[in-house]
Amino acid sequence: MPLTQQEIQQFTAKACQLRKDAIDTVYWAGGGHIGGSLSFTEIMILLYYKYARIDPKNPGWDDRDRIVVSKGHAGVGYAPILADKGYFPRELLKEFNHTGSILGMHLDGNKVPGVDVSTGSLGHGLPITVGLGIGARLQGKSWLTYCVLGDGECDEGSVWEAAMAAAHYKVTNIITIVDRNRMMIDGPTEEVMRLEPFADKWKAFGWIVKEVDGHDFNQLADAIEYAQKEDKAPVVIIAHTIKGKCVDFMEDKYEWHYGGLDSEKVELAKACIDKHYCEL
């Protein structure tokens, strides 16, 4: 077990808190990509609270690990994490999407401390990650780059161009995680544009694939630690998740890719989350 009991407890509590934060942020923002912000919570917690070597007091630290949230639309889930880590005051979350705010649907790296790459348009994160990886290696640096992709995002050709290049250049100082929640805007991924056999595709491109339950901290941690050490080929972790996890009226529904919440739904959602974590 890569994680201690204490860590699991901490992270579980953190997951409960961050999911509720995401719900609140959607409310303050007047709407947000809530489905995908609830599916990647565990992934993000392990990156931000366990594995990535970062310093919120020094966001520009040269030797930090980079985190590329390629599925940049999950701003309402991403921002609360950065706030919680201390990159900026929590108060700012209340201004999400407001005119003049530094926080908007897709976080702007020019404005928000802690954002390494401004993403939002899908398919950009992995090529940049490959560049970061090569750049680090060329300069003899040991920092790693973590990239979190959406699965619908993998429709983009540029993702596969990057995959090809990563394998060709043996870029193993990057760790790629796909939030495989099987839903996109117009419907389930397999109905809109079939991805399966998904793992096979990565293997065909020369990657090592690890498939895990994206909501299981231990499985995720195992895979991440494996990826950190593997140097024969780049590793992709296909994290099987549920869009809208923990909020029963959102779970597994592509309609909740993006949505607004009135105060009643906010209470309902938070109650769901609490209930889920009480039952654990």
Partner: protein
């Protein structure tokens, strides 16, 4: 080449085409500055990035025929603290990977230098799919981007060096590489954003960039000898930020401006100059010459230059035609008494 500083004379570059000079300059720069890396999309040989690749194999990355990824990688390399020089054909740099250039590089203000080759109709025989008569229009519209169209190999050397010194994204468009030399040495004071007045004059001003600048310079000399016309020639090598002062001076002092470029008349040098003139509120006889909003025919680049009106002879004809035009609104020929 001078031993210490990087100055190039026509002797050094005599046997090198425009692109070869670029390759050499890049190698010299990279020798001094270890953070320079190069990328190409399977066009290292054509874009002469091959020389860099051969000299610094571990600092060169071929992205294969995958331009979007190449520019994404360049962005990542820049974020890692390196200075990437990315080279491919202009049509692919500005259009295929347009979003990467804009979102990854310009929006995030990264230090990526794009050397776009085979610009305009310079790859004439290859046809429209390999021409690029839109890149100035596209790149101009990206915030934070500097857009340069050097007139010859020597100016390309200067542009590459200036691009390295500049903090932020730079787009340099050059031709296939067999341009004749306009300048003799590199030390004429190249500066991003400062046009070079190749020749002074009072009757009319030609503003040109790239291959058209060379043609314009020689056309102007002929016009002076044969027509006794006093033609000012401005090499507007930097399209963005454009040298507004030079344009306004031309408006005030010559009142006739004609632009020539190997680019669509929509959105390129001509449009950029027009924006300045119109903003000034001063009247001026003004015409733009370029590819007239069509896809260019196939042909040798020199023939295409003539076909689309920016070779030496066509420039001469156009100036003669404009000089017959009036720049005054009123046709009031009453003496003031």
């Amino acid at each position: 080449m001078a031993a210490d500083g990087l100055t190039y004379t026509i002797v050094d570059t005599a046997n090198m085409s425009t692109a070869e000079i670029y390759g050499k300059v890049l190698c010299d720069l990279a020798e001094k500055h270890k953070e320079i890396v190069g990328l190409s999309a399977d066009l290292a040989k054509s874009t002469k990035m091959g020389q860099f690749a051969a000299t610094f194999p571990d600092r060169f990355f071929n992205a294969g025929i995958a331009e979007q990824n190449m520019f994404g990688m360049a962005a990542g390399l820049a974020k890692a603290g390196l200075t990437p020089f990315v080279s491919t054909f202009a049509v692919f740099a500005s259009l295929r990977a347009a979003e990467q250039v804009r979102t990854d590089i310009c929006y995030q203000k990264l230090n990526v230098k794009i050397i776009a080759t085979h610009a305009g109709t310079s790859f004439g025989q290859a046809g429209t799919t390999h021409h690029c008569t839109e890149d100035l229009a596209v790149m101009r519209s990206f915030a934070n981007m500097v857009v340069i169209a050097p007139a010859d190999g020597i100016e390309t050397a200067n542009a590459v060096m200036a691009a390295y010194e500049h903090k932020g994204p730079v787009y340099i468009r050059i031709n296939r590489g067999f341009d004749p030399f306009l300048y003799e040495k590199t030390d004429y004071g190249f500066q991003i954003g400062k046009a070079v007045q190749l020749k002074d004059g009072t009757d009319i001003t030609i503003i040109a960039c790239g291959a058209a600048a060379y043609n314009a310079y020689h056309a102007a000399n002929i016009l002076e000898k044969e027509d006794k016309l006093s033609v000012r020639v401005i090499n507007m090598h930097t399209i963005k930020p454009i040298d507004e002062e030079a344009i306004l001076k031309a408006v005030m002092e010559t009142r006739r401006i004609v632009t020539f470029e190997d680019h669509n008349i929509i959105g390129g040098l001509g449009s950029a100059v027009a924006e300045v003139i119109v903003k000034s509120g001063k009247g001026c006889a003004f015409e733009t010459v370029g590819i007239p909003d069509q896809y260019a025919i196939i042909g040798l680049p020199e023939d295409l230059q003539n076909y689309y009106g920016f070779d030496q002879n066509k420039i001469i004809e156009k100036v003669r035609q404009i000089m017959g035009k009036d720049f005054e609104q009123t046709e009031d020929w009453e003496d003031e008494v």
